[in-house]
């Protein structure tokens, strides 16, 4: 029972965080800050949803597979974000920085 409630909380919070992150990619002004919003949906939202599902699954093969998905996301999502940011910086996409605005 407690596990059920816990997993529901995890799932709901994860879902809401995902939506907030997705709203973030529309509200932030430039690519680099949007990347942070993607980060929310990629990390905590994904972790919470997978955790909520794992609580439902209990100790089984399904939980192990969920753990594997988690490990893959844990390794690939920062790598993809880093590669994306570094590629963008290389191609000459300038980030909007706070200091620039002050100067103007």
């Amino acid at each position: 029972m407690i596990i059920d409630i816990l997993s529901w909380v995890c799932l709901t919070v994860g879902g809401i965080l995902g939506i907030i992150g997705a709203i973030g990619i529309h509200r932030f002004p430039d690519f680099y800050s949007r990347l942070h919003a993607v980060g929310i949906a990629d990390t905590l939202s994904a972790i919470l949803i997978l955790l909520g599902l794992a609580l439902q699954a209990g100790l089984s093969l399904a939980a192990f597979k969920l753990f594997l998905i988690f490990v893959f996301l844990f390794f690939t999502s920062p790598t993809a974000s880093h590669a994306l940011a570094s590629a963008a910086l290389h191609s000459g996409l300038k980030p909007k920085l706070a200091d620039d605005e002050k100067k103007q």
């Binding site: 942070h36 990390t43 880093h82 940011a85």
Partner: protein, 132 residues
């Protein structure tokens, strides 16, 4: 069935050795003892950073994006990679470029970048020296 499983593992190992994939970098078994503590630490950081960025999304005018260089104390490639990926994992900071001893990061707020410059996270990353 068991035979097929063993054959699969054998083929994988054969290919991986052909690709030169196995060394202390890709599968750092000697770090397993340090892993749980580090994992809990990074999870905690992720939660904190998430709450912060969620607040910023509610009020987008409060962001002050920064592009700063921070020092990387780790000597080995693996340690630097773990550090860079941990920074990227915590929302609010993204590592943009990694060179020999500095890491360029893009931070959503000034506070986040200052935290990293002080290097509180860097101390937590296990610095592994790989025997070559």
């Amino acid at each position: 069935m068991l035979g097929l499983g063993l054959a699969s593992i054998a083929l994988t190992v054969f290919l991986a050795i052909r690709m030169n994939l196995f060394d202390d970098e890709s599968y750092p078994f000697h770090l397993f003892s340090q892993f749980p503590a580090f994992f809990i630490y990074i999870l905690n950081e992720i939660v904190k950073a998430n709450i912060d960025v969620v607040k910023r999304i509610m009020k987008p005018s409060s962001i002050s994006p920064q592009l700063v260089d921070i020092p990387v104390p780790q000597k080995s490639d693996l340690g630097r990679v773990i550090y860079a990926n941990s920074i990227t994992l915590t929302p609010g900071t993204v590592s943009v470029a990694l060179s020999k001893d500095t890491l360029t990061i893009h931070a959503l707020t000034k506070e986040a970048s200052e935290d990293l410059t002080e290097g509180s996270m860097a101390k937590k990353i296990p610095d592994v020296v790989i025997k070559k």
